[in-house]
């Protein structure tokens, strides 16, 4: 665990358990919603960090996922649609002793709040953003979202949606994100491992979580979840490991020497050495981006999950604190009387 990301946050006095992180509020998501699994995973994993509970803050926007803070026995704010990254930026920038988490959805983060998301990523503020992607608008009862596949039939698109979806991982990589990962609500083990890495990351971490909305978009990720089909559809990334999937690792990702792009091939004795080894810490995001593009935007087949990118670069809130220190060093601690007087005064005597 990186010392830097969590070093400024006070530690808990005693060992914590999952129940310490459950608030007294009744959880009100639809029965069967994927959000329950994510909530349980987060509440289950936080005790591992051993952080003082009062120094953890969850900030959300608007949408089903954004009710999340009410269920966490930490500090929290349920804000307004799309603005959670901006609000969390102000909090994290002024309070480096806090572990600040943003909970958002595909509509909240990528439609109304798209601008704040990309700028938070670019700045690399010490935030952990959990983006619950169910490819639909749930709280407003079933309109298509910016991650819905083209042609989606919904109440607002009875003849099918027309616009191409975002791939949130590609978007984050393009927005200079220093940490980008993807996981799935139903895979508790994988979800937890990704949360663990995100928490340890200094700077902004974006975790896209595929989350099933069983009311308005049920089964959206079934191909990725079904044990048999997942072998062919899901590419599990592990840093330092060759990128292989399929039954017995029969498929692999190689670089096409002609175009430089990535492609999926059947692995043979002849090409086995060519299979790309995943490097989450690569300085350039190019390969991570190419990996993110393997997924078919309609079916999500060949979707990579795991940590696509995790690199260290200056963290905004640290840099701002450094500037404040440097200013004091250069000019001395601010003297209000001297500031008000300025350099050009005259005196009237009575």
């Amino acid at each position: 665990m990186s010392a830097e990301a969590l070093s400024l946050i006070p530690k808990a006095d005693a060992k914590q358990s999952m129940k310490d992180f459950k608030s007294d509020q009744e959880v009100r998501w639809c029965p069967g919603c994927g959000d329950y699994a994510i909530l349980a995973a987060v509440q289950g994993f936080l005790p591992e960090l051993g952080l003082a509970r009062e120094n953890i803050v969850f900030i959300s926007g608007i949408g089903c996922s954004s009710r999340f803070p009410y269920y966490m026995n930490t500090y929290g704010m349920h804000s307004i649609h799309g603005r959670a990254p901006a609000i969390a930026t102000g909090l994290a920038t002024t309070r480096r002793d806090l572990s600040v988490w943003v909970v958002t959805g595909d509509g909240d983060a990528l439609s109304i709040g798209g601008n704040h998301l990309i700028h938070a990523l670019r700045r690399n503020v010490n935030l952990k953003i959990l983006l619950f992607n169910n490819r639909i608008y749930g709280l407003t009862k079933g309109q298509y979202s910016p991650t819905s596949e083209v042609g989606k039939i919904t109440k607002s698109t009875p003849m099918g949606s027309l616009d191409a979806p975002f791939n949130p991982v590609s978007l984050a990589l393009g927005a200079e994100a220093s940490f980008v990962a993807r996981t799935i609500d139903s895979d508790r083990k994988h979800l937890t491992s990704v949360l663990r890495e995100a928490a340890a990351h200094p700077g902004t971490a974006l975790v896209e979580i595929y989350q099933n909305c069983n009311i308005f978009n049920d089964g959206a990720f079934d191909d990725l979840k079904d044990k048999d089909s997942a072998q062919e559809t899901l590419i599990r990334l592990e840093h330092g490991q060759p990128i292989r999937f399929g039954v017995d690792g029969a498929k692999g990702v190689v670089r096409d020497p002609a175009t430089g792009d990535l492609k999926v091939v059947g692995v043979t004795a002849a090409n086995e050495a060519d299979v790309l080894v995943h490097d989450a810490h690569a300085a350039s995001p190019t390969t991570a981006f190419a990996l993110s593009r393997l997924a078919d935007p309609q079916t999500l087949h060949h979707t990579p999950i795991g940590v696509l990118r995790s690199v260290e670069r200056p963290v905004y809130d640290n840099a701002m604190a450094d500037q404040l220190d440097a200013a004091v060093e250069q000019k001395g601690k601010g003297d209000l009387a001297a500031l008000l007087a300025g350099n050009d005064t005259w005196t009237v005597v009575g």
């Binding site: 009062e54 901006a86 102000g90 601008n115 209000l336 500031l339 050009d344 005259w346 009237v348």
Partner: protein
Amino acid sequence: MTSQVSSPAEPPVLGEQRKPGKEIRRLDRVIVRFAGDSGDGMQLTGDRFTSETASFGNDLSTLPNFPAEIRAPAGTLPGVSSFQVHFADHDILTPGDRPDVLVAMNPAALKANVGDLPRGAEIIVNTDEFTKRAMAKVGYATSPLEDGALEAYNVHPVPLTSMTVEALKDFGLSRKEAERSKNMFALGLLSWMYHRPTAGTETFLRSKFAKKPELAEANITAFRAGWNFGETTEDFAVTYEVAPAQAAFPPGTYRNISGNLALAYGLVAASAQADLPLFLGSYPITPASDILHELSKHKNFGVRTFQAEDEIAGIGAALGAAFGGSLAVTTTSGPGVALKSETIGLAVSLELPLLVIDIQRGGPSTGLPTKTEQADLLQAMYGRNGEAPVPIIAPATPGDCFNAALEAARIALTYRTPVFLLSDGYLANGSEPWRIPDTGELPDLRVQFATTRNHTDADGQEHFWPYLRDPQTLARPWALPGTPGLEHRIGGIEKQDGTGNISYDPGNHDLMVRTRQAKVDGIEVPDVTVDDPTGAARTLVIGWGSTYGPITAAVRRTRQAGGEIAQAHLRHLNPFPANLGEVLAAYRNVIVPEMNLGQLAQLLRARYLVDAASHTQVTGLPFKAEQLAARLQEAVAQGLTKEAADVR
């Protein structure tokens, strides 16, 4: 009062010594306007002349006026930029209506400004720019310098450009580079004419061009050449002295200050007095950006400035910082307020302290970005969804922006609420002498954060209830993340009284809406004072914000003309001072001058059922005292007529 004004650095007279022989006339006040192309450096010239004047001890008031374009097409009327300074040996209230002296750097500057001059005004024109082409560009078929169009004025034709170039011929500058110093030549000439101290300007130029000392010297040379030209030429036979304004100022140490600078200092002071770190979340917008620029210089005061990706993120980050215990501020202008509205509503619901500073400009939409207006009052008052009351305060003068910032912080911190501060372009860029306050006399703004649980269950269990209110102020506790045992969740969704848990209960919503309103209505604000020297006035003039100077000047004129009129000026617009209803009821006639279409008048009429009459102007410029006085005199007459009718 026997007072004396001392200037710290009486300059060694530059160039040559003042020669005897030229007539010196004493004046009690002068209005000078510098006008030229946007690229001619008129704002800098005006600023320097103002600094010289301030350090001499005159009272003064300034009016910068410039286009929104950074470099509008050269030589055109829309590209004219001007700076007016009014200085006097007594206290003055406005930048003045009609300039006594116009410095016109080109034909466009002459054409755009000559209409404002009284007969007999002096015009100093840069003859080098009066080419056929330049004159044709602004519609002069013949030269106004020769065709008698300026007969009513005292014209001084001066080849400013060529004399500047000549003065700088040894500097090895290109002609274009040398020409740039012509504003300093003009400044030197005016400094000579009005006996301004000059050392400050030379020091300023040396520091401004510290990295290019040859440019510093070139500008100083041009400045001195202008001064010497006045001294030498026959064309300027008279110089003028305006004595320091001895009686105008209470004892103290003074400086010149603009509204935006005073506001920035007020925020730094509020942070110090509250012992809370200052956080500014802002997005650049005219005419508010200078506050962001200024505060970003003061990181050694623990000030964090955050240039956000948009207006919404600016206020969002500020609200997040408020949640974390900062004194949080967002600065903007009208279009930015429109974007921030939803977050202001959230702050109303969260009940966290937050300063929303609106430097108003001409609207609607983009409107007139560099011009002044007071048309955001109703936006501040009502511009949100739902019942979302926000306290509003407005400074009256540039220096008063300092106090207004402290007062806004007091209300925000005491009542845990967003607060609007409505300044405007006139206050923001205008300047006046300001008595530097003793930091010991600033208000104590320290707050008490919640540290312990505040509610005990029937079964003896302790809880923290984020919406359990202080019975006096109705403020809720401010519990900072990091405080053990007070973990809680807040949000924009309606919450149960006390616990803060989500509640859709009809009765609870009704209670919460009324409670939030009652909290704002109950904010303690000082009574409004009325200036009614004889106590016999039948007419009251009441204004708010930056119209204080022009209204007060107009009131003086009205009284000098024998009219009895009372004056009141509102700093608190929500809630109104408790005595306001009484004050309004005491006068038979109420007139409300505003730089909008009657927004305060509408609030007063609705709230107090008073037949307040509006006097409005939306030109992007402040009221002129003379015109306003004429309207007030009419109002005084109306007041008397109404009273006579009552008696009958």
